[in-house]
Structure formats: C-alpha cells, structure tokens
C-alpha cells in the first residue's frame, strides 16, 4: 500500500495523519496544482459540489450519495474548511484524493481558503488543537494559494443518464428531461422536461415542500407542467438537442461569482492567483460576489465582492458561450437554487450547516454527452455558434443557451451518532 493510499484510508476514518505526512502531502499537492491554470478544464461527466465547511461526516454522506472516488468525478467549489469540527480531516482527505486521482478530482478556491479567514472561523484553532502547533495550518494555507480560481466543464450532455441502474436508459432519453431532483437514495422526486424558454414560468425549478421527502408519487410524471414539449430539434423544444454537435454549452464553476473587472473567462486566466485572497479586485470578487435580483452591479452587504443581476449573468454567458454558471458561497435551505432563467445555479453541500441551520444539501451531476461527436460547438473560446453566427432574436437582450441536463441529488446530514462532537462552549456571562 502506498503512502497515499494509507493516508486516504486513515483520513476516511476521520483520523488526522502525522504532521510530517501532511507536509509531504501538501508539497505534492502544490506541485500538482501549480501546473493547473487559473481556470481548470474539466470534461463531463462530473459531479459539482458546493461548500463543505469541515463537516466531515456529511462529506462521507456526500460520497455515499454521489458515488465514491474514483468511480465518480468530483469538482468541489471551495470552502472546505472552517465552522465545522473536522476542517482538517475534510480538507486533507480531499487533497489526498486530488493527489491520488488528479484527473478525477478538481478543487477550486473558496473565500475561506485564506489565512485571514481561517484564523477567525476555526481552521487555525483546529490545527493548533490537533497538532499543538500552527505548522499544519501553514502547510495548508500554502496549498490554498495554489488552488485554481474556477473551472470550465465541457462536453456535458443535454439529456440525462439514468439516476440509478434500475431505470431504463431509453425511458430517460424519451422524456427529454432538463432537470431532475433525486433524494439521497437515488429516487427521483421531481422532474422538469425541457421546454421552450418563452413558455417557462417555472424555469427555476424550486421544489416546494421538502425536496428530500419521499414523494415518490411524483414518479415519472411531470409535476411541473402538463405542457407537451416537442421532440428534440423541433421549435417547440427550444433546443437543438440531437442535432450536430453538443449544444449544451460550457459550464463555468467559481466559488462566488462574477466581477466587474472580468468580462471574459480568459481574463480570469490572466490573474496572478498565487497569493492570499486580496481585499478587493478581480480575484476577491470571484470568491466573494453573489447574484441578486437587481439590475446591474450592486454593493455586497458582505463587505467584499459585489452583487450582480440577471443582465450581468446573461451578458457574461452570452459573451463567453456559457450555458450555465455553477457557484457555491451562499447557504440555500433547499440545497440548490437556479436563478435568472437557469443561467446561474447555487449549489450548497453542507447539510444542517454549523450543525444547526436545518438545511439540506445538494450536489449537481452533469452527465457525459454520448453522441460520440466529441465536438464542443459552444465551448468557451469557440466563436462559431451553431447558427453560423447569425444574429439571434434577443428578447431579453441576450439569447441564453439551453443549459445542460442537470440532476440534483439532495441529501441530509449524516446521522448524529456517527460523530463525536466537541462540547459546546459556555455562553458569554455578560451580555447587556
């Protein structure tokens, strides 16, 4: 058994590895990460995850629900550490898996992957508590500086593969689903067929009620709407799925969101990322900004980054031939939230955040385009659009691309008894 596999096994058991091993691991990880660009290119299929925040047992639950590494490819959008009680084990395990399976794990940086934030929100204290010195924290922070700032997912299909082996693939293909929500056991709870944009009033599929409830009654019927949608390629579907090429477009993954200083994905590639997260500027914005129901840019109440509206997202996606931006950073009680005609989605993967918020978590699966053509007609940087570059109708100013088919797996926190939680600190004695 190699050192790496030994470390993985030990960390999976939620036991920290010795300081010297952490040092070696971080060194290896840095050598690997330094080769990555600021924006990593990832090929579908991939499972995209949001914030983890040191909730190790919930990370294990995530792997159970989403499939284990290396059988499933993962893309984690940052915020591995802080707040939870096992930041160290969570981050080191992810890092180990990254070093062990570099092509199957992608880690990008979140705003908590920073020296300043981790000293306040728990990771620093945790390292000090578990090792008696800050060395391990220092090694990890050095790795943080090398994490990529974003990722582009190419080759995602706009049809879903079956959620579990028991379902027939043909059935799925016939239904032409755009979005499916599954519970932790892989049972489909909501399905949204692809439909024309102009008809969609419910293009933000927010399931009502508990998304994790066992409402199997939804079955394979469409709860969202009774509208029939046309076959792929006909006008009624609003999608050219099935025609030449892969029209699903690329998906940009970033922890926070957009920046007024960044107009193209290539502009992200030009940043000097190997530094502590600055207090302002493009790099800071990518890790701190939030989408909001406003027009244009707004001031972020967080004290860093900006708010950005639907027009900004649609313009950015149009310019960069993106169909979707996937981001994390904001707690969503339902685990995921699509906004702005499904041009941006927030994925949150820390169930019952801080062990008390009562939210569920989600991960986003993009399946592989199996048309066999291998042409990413609308991938980033490829200027030839499938309509030959003709001017399109712009009802909203921009004609957004149809997103790839998306499956959200929603899951809850791991059972309480599987973790030994440190005792809660006593309340402050003076508070008037």
């Amino acid at each position: 058994m190699s050192d790496l596999d030994k470390w993985v096994a030990q960390l999976r058991a939620c036991r920290p590895i010795p300081e010297a091993d952490v040092r070696e691991l971080c060194h290896k990880a840095r050598e690997l990460l330094i080769e990555e660009g600021n924006v990593v290119t990832v090929n579908a299929p991939v499972t995209i995850c949001g914030d983890i925040h040191g909730q190790f047992h919930d990370l294990m639950e995530l792997f159970r629900v989403g499939g284990d590494v290396p059988d499933t490819n993962y893309l984690f959008m940052g915020d591995f550490v802080d707040r939870g009680f096992y930041s160290l084990e969570s981050f080191l395990l992810l890092l180990c898996l990254k070093v062990r399976y570099p092509d199957r794990m992608t880690l990008i940086r979140g705003n908590h992957e920073s020296r300043q934030i981790t000293t306040v929100y728990g990771f620093y204290d945790e390292c000090l508590r578990k090792y008696g010195s800050a060395n391990v924290w220092r090694y990890c922070c050095d790795v943080f500086d090398y994490l990529a700032l974003g990722a582009i997912v190419l080759g995602a299909s706009n049809t879903l593969s079956p959620a579990s082996e028991s379902s027939a693939a043909q059935e799925y293909a016939d239904m032409n689903l755009e979005v499916e929500v599954c519970n932790a056991d892989g049972v489909s709870t909501f399905q949204f067929p692809r439909q024309s944009r102009s008809l969609t009033s419910s293009s933000d599929p927010q399931p009502r009620g508990s998304p994790n409830g066992s409402s199997s009654t939804a079955g394979h019927s469409s709860p969202a709407t009774g509208n029939k949608t046309g076959p792929p390629g006909s006008g009624a579907s609003g999608s050219s799925g099935g025609s030449v090429g892969n029209p699903a477009g690329a998906v940009l993954c970033v922890h926070g969101g957009l920046s007024p200083l960044i107009q193209t994905v290539d502009a992200i590639r030009l940043l000097d990322r190997k530094q502590e997260v600055p207090h302002e500027g493009a790099m800071c914005d990518l890790l701190w900004s939030d989408p909001d129901d406003i027009d244009g840019w707004g001031l972020s109440p967080r004290g860093a980054g900006f708010l950005f509206g639907a027009d900004i997202v649609k313009e950015f996606n149009y310019k960069n031939d993106l169909s979707l931006i996937a981001r994390a950073h904001q707690l969503v009680m339902e685990g995921f939230k699509e906004m702005f005609d499904a041009s941006i989605v927030t994925v949150w993967s820390a169930p019952n955040y801080c062990y008390r918020c009562g939210n569920v978590a989600a991960l986003l699966e993009l399946s592989e385009d199996e048309s066999g053509l291998g042409v990413f007609a609308r991938s980033n940087g490829d200027v030839s659009r499938s309509d030959g570059g003709q001017e399109k109708g712009r009802p909203n100013g921009f004609d957004t691309l149809e997103g790839p088919a998306r499956r959200y797996r929603v899951f809850q926190a791991a059972p309480q008894d599987s973790r030994g939680m440190p005792a809660k600190k006593p309340v402050a004695d003076y508070f008037l």
């Binding site: 306040v120 007024p260 001031l299 707690l331 955040y353 004695d429 508070f431």
Partner: protein, 412 residues
C-alpha cells in the same frame, strides 16, 4: 574561568534579565506608560556599561538590581482621563415639545428629561458616527474609539449619548427608580438626541449617519434603523457583540453575574483597577476613560462611596424586550449592516444563515472581551471606517448597468 569572565557573564545575565522584565512590563502596560519604560532601559544600559568598564557589580539603589520586575503597582497609572481629551464638546439636549404622538402616552407627560451627549462635529460632508452604549455603560465607552476613528477619517464626527438612567443624562420620574427603559423609548430617545443635536449645532441637514450600538445599544440602533425615521441620511448600522439568541441564553445567568460585581468602590482608582483586573475592560486607557462615567459618589457608605449610577438588576423587566426580534430586525432593516463579535460561537441560527447568505458583514475579534470597542479601539475603528467607506454613497461608483448601455446603443 577567570574572575573577569565570571563578572562579565554575570553582567550579561543581568542585562538579559533586565530585558526580560522589560518585556513583561511591556505586555502588561498596553503601551500607555512609555516614559516610564524608557527609565528602565536607561538603568540597564548604564549598569551594563559600568560592568563592562569597571567590572564591579555592586547593587546600588539606583540600579535596583534586586528589585522585583516592574509590575502593576508602580508602572500602571490608574488615573482617570477626562472626556475633554476625546470630544470637542458636551451637549445638554431637551426632547422636542411633547406634541409627538408616537411615544408611550403614559410616560411622556410627567417625565422631565435632559439628554447628555458628547459630540465631535463632522467636518464638511463628513459622516457622523452615532454611538449608543450598552446597559450600565455610558457614552464615554466610545471615547477612545472616537479618537481612533478620527485618526483614520479626520472629517468624521462622533455623537455619543448617555441613555436615560445612565451617565449624565438626567431624568425626573414620578416614582424614583422606575425609569421606562423599553426598547421603543430608548430608540425614540436616540432619534430625539440626533434631531436636537442638529438643531443645536445648526446643521442645515442631517449628515450621513452610521449608527453604532454596543450590546443593548446594538438593539437600540437596530430598532431605530428598522423604523426608518432617519430616512436616507442613514448609511448603515453596526452592532457590537450582541446577538439575539446568545443574549437570551445569557440572560438566565445575568443576575448571578451582577451579584458577583462589587457594589461600591473606595475610589475611582479602585473601580478602574477592578475593571482592568477582572478583564471586564482589557485596555487600561479605555478603562481610565470610561469607568468614571459609570459611578457616582453618593456619600452613603463612607468606606465605599462610589456606587454604580445604573442599577442593572432593576432593569431586568426590560431585558427580554430589548433582545426579542433583534436578529430579524437586523437582517430586515435598510442600510449597510455590520456585526462585530468577540467570538463566532455567539451567532444564533438566524444570523448564521443570514451570514452565509451574504446579508451582512461580519467581523470577529476573538482576542476581545464583551467591550470590543474598548478592548480593541484601533481594530474597531478600522472596521468602522472601512464599513463607512463601502457605504459612502458620495464616493460609490458602480459599473454601468447593461440595460443603460443597451439603451445608449452600445454593443455589450
């Protein structure tokens, strides 16, 4: 080893020990006793040089070779620092004539109140930081902070009031000891003080305002902000170390804590020393400034004449009223929002969710106690000045909206 070597060694050891004691003093002093530290340095260097030149190591009174390391008794001054060091003037303000209808009708007619506040005026278009202290404290709690703010933002003004029943605000009540301290009354008071200050200082209009409240004051400024009566003058509000959930939890043990406090002090010096020693206020300069505002000499007990101006235990009926609904109001009111805490574990569920949804700015100073702004006036000032900078509408330039660009016919 020769005699000479031994002597030299001793001399070195001594100077090393001198350095050591110097460090200890430095840590204890919080930097407020620089001149006296210098003396220690002089002593050491002179003794070391005499050792190296003559080789004699004879303890002399001047060298204090066997003196204990300089500690609290000699080094630390506990003299009070007057408010005039920090503020430009004090104001005695009356509430507007009782034509108002919104205050509690029962209390208004028979109560005569004169608000006392400290003011440093804003210069030009500078902002005004309006400070409201916590229960049992006083406007002087913000004195050190105010000078730190002005060091970084010289045109800023600071208005720090004494709430009713606190500091030098005087109130006549029909029944002594039954002051109405409900949240609504306190936030009305705060609004009155701002308006009265505007009248008295003949400001043509309200300056841009940042509300800052500590503890109970945090609940008061949040209440005022959510009432929206300051209109567009309000840029934002900052709350220091109070969160609804943890405050409600702490209320159960409050009476126990209050009963453990000394009821009186022999002198102001004693009181200041108690605050520093008990680490209630962890910055001696702050304690020397703010503690005198908390006590008065009632002459009742000849051995301990200095007693608390505010009977905190008697305010218990209002405690829940102060904090219920605070988190909701904090997240809901208009304006920039900042929360400064002494520890992340003080967040309640509602604010934990709000923080992770990016609804407000959170700053945590784990090294501070409950009186964050007194323990760490510089850091608090930096946070507040940054907070103002972000919310300063006159300076804010956002990128153009896409719809505007399209309307102008530009390609985007």
């Amino acid at each position: 080893m020769s005699d000479l070597q031994r002597k030299l060694g001793k001399a070195k050891l001594k100077s090393a020990m001198g350095d050591n004691s110097l460090k200890e003093v430095d840590e204890n002093e919080d930097g407020d006793q620089l001149s006296e530290l210098r003396e220690v340095v002089d002593d050491d260097s002179s003794s070391a040089s005499s050792a190296s030149s003559t080789g004699t190591i004879i303890p002399s009174p001047r060298q204090k070779l066997f003196a204990r390391p300089e500690g609290i008794p000699r080094g630390r001054s506990l003299e009070q620092i007057p408010w005039t060091t920090y503020f430009e003037r004090e104001l005695f303000l009356k509430p507007p004539a009782p034509a108002q209808t919104d205050t509690t009708p029962a209390a208004t007619p028979s109560v005569e109140i004169t608000y006392h506040a400290y003011l440093t005026s804003p210069v030009g278009k500078g902002p005004l930081f309006v400070m409201h202290h916590g229960a049992g404290s006083s406007g002087l709690s913000f004195a050190v902070l105010s000078s730190e703010i002005r060091k970084r933002l010289p045109n800023a003004g600071v208005l720090a009031l004494d709430a009713r029943g606190h500091g030098s605000t005087t109130i006549t009540s029909p029944k002594p000891g039954s002051i109405d301290l409900s949240l609504h009354t306190l936030s009305t008071d705060l609004y009155n003080v701002i308006q009265a200050a505007k009248t008295q200082m003949a400001w043509p209009e309200l300056p841009p305002i940042i509300l800052v409240g500590h503890s109970l004051g945090g609940a008061v400024v949040t209440d005022l902000a959510s009432r929206g009566s300051l209109g567009p003058s309000l840029l934002g509000y900052a709350v220091l170390d109070v969160v609804e959930g943890s405050a409600m939890d702490a209320l159960q043990s409050m009476q126990t804590y209050l009963s453990s406090r000394p009821a009186g002090f022999a002198s102001l010096k004693d009181a200041i020393e108690w605050h520093v020693r008990s680490r209630t206020i962890r910055n001696a300069v702050s304690a020397r400034t703010s503690v005198p505002g908390l006590l008065s000499d009632d002459g009742g007990n000849p051995t301990k004449p200095w007693v608390w101006k505010t009977d905190l235990a008697a305010t218990q009926p209002f405690w829940e009223d102060w904090f219920v609904g605070l988190s909701k109001k904090f997240l809901g009111a208009r304006g920039g929002k900042m929360l400064l805490l002494a520890g992340t574990d003080r967040l309640d569920t509602e604010l934990t969710i709000g923080q992770m949804q990016g609804k407000y700015a959170l700053q945590v100073f784990p090294e501070a106690g409950h009186f964050i702004h007194e323990d760490l006036p510089e850091k608090t000032a930096v946070a507040l000045v940054d907070f103002h900078k972000r919310n300063d509408r006159s300076a804010l330039v956002l990128p153009p909206k896409v719809s505007d660009l399209l309307a102008q016919g530009k390609r985007v």
